[in-house]
Assembly symmetry: C2
Homo-oligomer: 673 residues x 2
């Protein structure tokens, strides 16, 4: 770091550390939770000051968001949905370029995770009944706060409204300086406020609807799931799923069975999820309909080692640990091996997935200089997670969380075990058999058989499988009432006249697997990728383009005839067909305009390679064409029959451009002509 910059940052670093130390001290003293929470919020505010200044003092990034958005819109990477009907906020349609780019990202994701790691994959329903999401906690907790315009009913997210109000007031000339500073302070505090605290602010500052000036209602909680009624009766309530993970958890038993009852195994799912955002903003970063790609890795809670960890242990990563965040320090570069050995990253499996996430992001074109892993502070972490790291990408909106990687412990399977009344667990062999106290129901098979007929066997097995606690409860209930209940069957004293206490030798124990979850917000990765690959040529025209790696570029190759004379057509057609036969996506760029202008058009949509059929091609034998690479704009001259395979290999990363320029003669004429 520039020492001059460090000097400016030093006091802020010290402020963070001072507060971090205080929080640690309070925690070790066992201070009341509410007090700790308040100080943690102050810690977060100081961290944010430090981060804001760090970004401000970084070398100026010339990124021009308006310019990029113009290109995105003009060449239809994506755009507002239903625009001819006035459009709709928080929803986007992906045009040919955006759609292909996302498809290619997902196809690479599938290879990188599902095929290479031999994962299972499922595709589950999006319409989800209420009881499933009640168990997962989403019905009760998946909410934001909002207020409404009392007359028009327009809704505002509470924190956004307050921030916007303060910012407006701060920009006004006649607001006293002291008041401005107070408001600035309150904005920083917003993140940690309760609904009541924020509501008080609305009233204290007499905030009104920014659209109409009307009064606002009291704040309310608003659940972010889209409610839906399944079937015609209106009695079966459900929601559009807010994440893909739950579909995997509710299928756990089938998946375990499919995997022949063995741990560990991983299951992936890619698909849409939905959040009814109160006020969507920041383009693709906060939308109502989005694609997720999630992996749930189920493993033994007492053994989170990973067989392939050693293969990646030397991978260097930028890690921003919770500790460093509390000490006001910068993120640190270290190997994942060091991080796991030192206990910074909780276990090998979590570390292995962090590496695989990083490898994927780099492969598709995320800029390594603009990526880091940030650890959740213990108070940020969902209460069930043991450790959680976010892959964050730096954009013009700041550091954006793109991929989460969490150890969710046994939380989800435990919740659904409770919610569904079905055990979601695995039998683990004991190292040596154990003798335990047992209490075995003595069954009257005659009575059971006569009562339950074809279900008799099920009942008998369920009785035999009772744990000692369950047997004790049943014995008590039977003694008191003469009846008990087991998996929906009514058990009477006559069926189980008595219980026998005895020692049992058991060879297995039941455990609930831990879940390690890498979770990708595909739209966010997509947006960061566009920002990271946006380029402006250093020439007079300042032409813009996307420098996407061939592996994800929507179109792999363009074919450009230098003239529209009829003798060019067979060359262009045949070449394009041969390229298509190799499953390469081809664009024949035969629009009017100079060849330079047409190269620029193909650069805009990120086509990495361009093949030009010129007069030399047509008039001279052997027929040769020029092949141009997008980023360097270098060209070579190549026999036309060698082109298809060379492009296929370039697109697959099996041939490098440097190898091409080494093998075939460079060419410079057209571009300048």
């Amino acid at each position: 770091m520039d020492p001059e910059v460090e000097k400016q940052l030093a006091p802020l670093r010290a402020r963070v550390k001072e507060q971090g130390d205080m929080v640690r001290q309070m925690k070790s003293d066992g201070a009341p939770e509410m007090d700790v929470k308040r100080q943690v919020q102050e810690l977060k505010n100081r961290k944010k000051e430090l981060e804001d200044l760090t970004l401000k003092l970084s070398p100026v990034d010339t990124f021009d968001r308006a310019k990029m958005n113009d290109l995105i819109k003009r060449r239809f990477f994506y755009d507002n949905s239903f625009a001819i009907y006035g459009g709709i906020t928080g929803q986007y349609d992906f045009g040919p370029m955006g759609c292909d780019l996302v498809d290619n990202m997902l196809s690479e994701w599938h290879k990188h995770f599902v095929i290479q790691e031999r994962m299972l994959k499922v595709n589950c329903s999006i319409l989800t009944p209420e009881n499933v999401l009640k168990a997962s906690g989403h019905v009760d907790k998946f909410a934001d706060y909002m207020v409404k315009d009392v007359k028009t009913g327009e809704c505002f997210r509470l924190d956004h409204l307050i921030k916007q109000h303060f910012e407006k007031r701060m920009a006004e000339k006649d607001t006293p300086q002291a008041e401005k500073e107070l408001m600035d302070r309150k904005i920083t505090l917003l993140d940690g406020m309760t609904m009541e605290e924020m509501d008080k602010l609305v009233k204290e500052y007499k905030m009104n609807s920014p659209s109409t000036g009307n009064d606002l209602t009291d704040a309310v909680e608003f659940n972010l799931m889209f409610p839906i009624s399944i079937g015609p009766t209106g009695n079966l309530k459900g929601f559009l799923r807010p994440e893909t993970a739950q579909g995997i958890f509710v299928n756990f038993k089938r998946l375990l069975e499919y995997n022949q009852k063995r741990l560990p195994f991983a299951c992936a799912q890619v698909g849409n999820s939905y959040r009814n955002e109160i006020s969507p903003r920041s383009g693709l970063l906060r939308v109502r309909e989005f694609t997720m790609a999630e992996v749930e890795h189920f493993c033994d809670p007492d053994d989170k080692s990973h067989p392939k960890f050693n293969q990646v242990a030397d991978t260097e990563m930028i890690l921003y640990s919770g500790c460093a965040q509390m000490d006001g320090e910068s993120p640190k570069k270290m190997t994942i091996g060091e991080a796991v050995r030192g206990g910074l990253v909780a276990n090998e499996t979590l570390g292995y997935y962090m590496v695989r996430i990083q490898q994927y992001l780099f492969k598709i074109g995320i800029d390594p200089k603009k990526m880091r892993f940030r650890q959740h502070l213990s108070n940020e972490m969902a209460h069930y997670a043991c450790d959680c790291w976010d892959a964050e990408c730096l954009t013009s909106y700041g550091w954006i969380e793109c991929v989460g990687c969490a150890d969710r412990s046994a939380y989800d399977l435990s919740q659904h075990t409770k919610g569904a009344g079905v055990k979601l667990c695995v039998e683990r062999a004991l190292k040596e058999p154990k003798i335990v106290d047992g209490m075995v129901p003595v069954q009257d098979n005659g009575v059971i058989g006569k009562t339950f007929r074809k279900d008799a066997k099920t009942v008998q097995e369920a009785l035999a499988a009772l744990s000692i606690e369950e047997a004790e409860t049943m014995e008590k209930t039977l003694s008191e009432t003469g009846e008990s209940e087991l998996n929906g069957f009514k058990i009477t004293r006559a069926m189980v006249p008595s219980f026998k206490r005895e020692k049992k030798k058991v060879h297995v124990e039941e455990i609930i697997p831990s879940v390690i979850e890498p979770s990708f917000g595909i739209g966010r990765v997509f947006y960061c990728l566009l920002e990271h690959s946006f380029r402006v040529r250093e020439d007079d025209d300042k032409r813009t383009y996307f420098s996407l790696p061939p592996v994800v570029a929507p179109l792999k190759v363009s074919v450009l005839p230098l003239s529209n004379k009829p003798e060019f057509i067979p060359f262009v057609t045949q070449l394009a067909d041969q390229l298509t036969d190799l499953n390469l996506t081809v664009k024949v760029e035969d629009s009017t305009g100079s060849i330079g202008r047409r190269y620029a058009r193909t650069d805009e949509i990120a086509i990495p390679f361009g093949v030009t059929v010129d007069f030399d091609t047509v008039n001279n034998s052997p027929h040769t064409v020029t092949v141009r690479e997008r980023d360097s704009t270098e060209q070579v001259r190549m026999p036309i029959e060698e082109v298809p395979l060379a492009i296929r290999k370039l697109a697959d990363g099996k041939l490098l451009w440097t190898e091409v320029t080494a093998k075939w003669p460079k060419f410079i004429a057209q571009e300048t002509a």
Copy 2:
């Protein structure tokens, strides 16, 4: 056809033809529409009788649906969603096998259509505002009829309820024969009845709720779309889209722009659609959440030729024309060239897509003997379509429509032009310029500029582009009221003091493109594919498996160690890793059980190739393994290092099994060992 069978069918054929001729006569006589409709319904009933008997007299199909469903469930191809919470009808989760199979079908679809035909592709929002679906006709017309149990509120689809009631009564011994025949007749008539006619039946036969015996409400229309409220206010109504097509239509302008304003072009979309079925049934054939793959091909309404039609003109297809259906004849085999030349299939583009659909279905494994194209009768066809053919597959549920291929003419773009007030059309160059009457507004640019500032240019251009009819309307309104409106801008007399009538030379005309639409129900194709590829071995164990082509098989190869001795492990691991490196999906089948039992396990999940590491592999050098093909169960012995590439080529269809058995020595020992 068997002459004996033909003899039995002959009277039914005659009955169909008699009725078909009558319908034709009535149409040519211009008989009242209602009368024609009634006779068409009778025609359909007779057609159904003929079809039912034809299927009944066909060679017995030994297909055992229960056996197949057992395999599907046991190896988790797909199963009911949320089963641990009691499950939910009409929704299915795809397990590892089903999910991979669908992914592979879609990946092949993408290559076959999008890449090979150089289509555009989009991915549009599923949450759709009401006005879009109002314009498309879905809000008003996308409905089924239903009745409710007055006490419990349980809903029944009206036609299903009546059919079920009659079937029950017909099965009862004490129902008089004459009544049985009457009911049988009424069942056949159901398809063409109005809601009122069906409701009358419910009352006449005193039908009650089949679940509770309670009374039923009057019949009502029930819209099959899922309503949804977008955003927190509750004011923006929408639906989950019922088909993917609309997303393409509303993006037409952007897509045309992307294609540099040229026709023809095609755009594809793959994604989920939703229908809130009243009573889902028949497994995957009628569900609430399903994947569609649709293509909208936009072309000049006066030129529906296709440049590649000649390449496919000789393709033979089984066509069941509307005429043949009306004449009681069987489907006919003919080439698509004959069909288009003879006017049976409306145009080359429609015919070209029918061939491409057939090629795709055959490639993924649909049985050519169980596939046909059936033409819609003119009264079945949506009123806007000129011609429509369904690719139907024969299953244990009868002939199932899997892919529709329709010429939808200008319907959709016209509807959205009206609905959105935005012209969705294309400029077509006239062969020679035309002189037309024009009426040009004389603009006061000063007033316009001062009023609209940055929008002034937009207004000026819109005024200049007025058609003569639009100009006349504006002139009239301005004269009468002094004000008019144009694209949301208020135009005053001061801005347009007068209009000038003059001749204009025009070089282009505006046309609304025609749309040709191949539309795939992926779940239905998937189900038919499973039925068509289900096999039972002709041996004692009657083992079942799926004979899926390698291109769509979920897993391409299994690796089976013959023993669990440690010296086998390095061979198995290295081979599996090498296969994975080639992006092949691999299953290491190291479960306990005989090798025959383990081959059967891999056959069940359709793995086409199995590589066995045996004692020979481990003990002898050069190391060789056996490679087994699923359908033939033939095996060869191959050097281990040649395996990965050979399997990659086999999976891609670039190497045939016959070539493998010709090159490497056959092997027979293990399977019998």
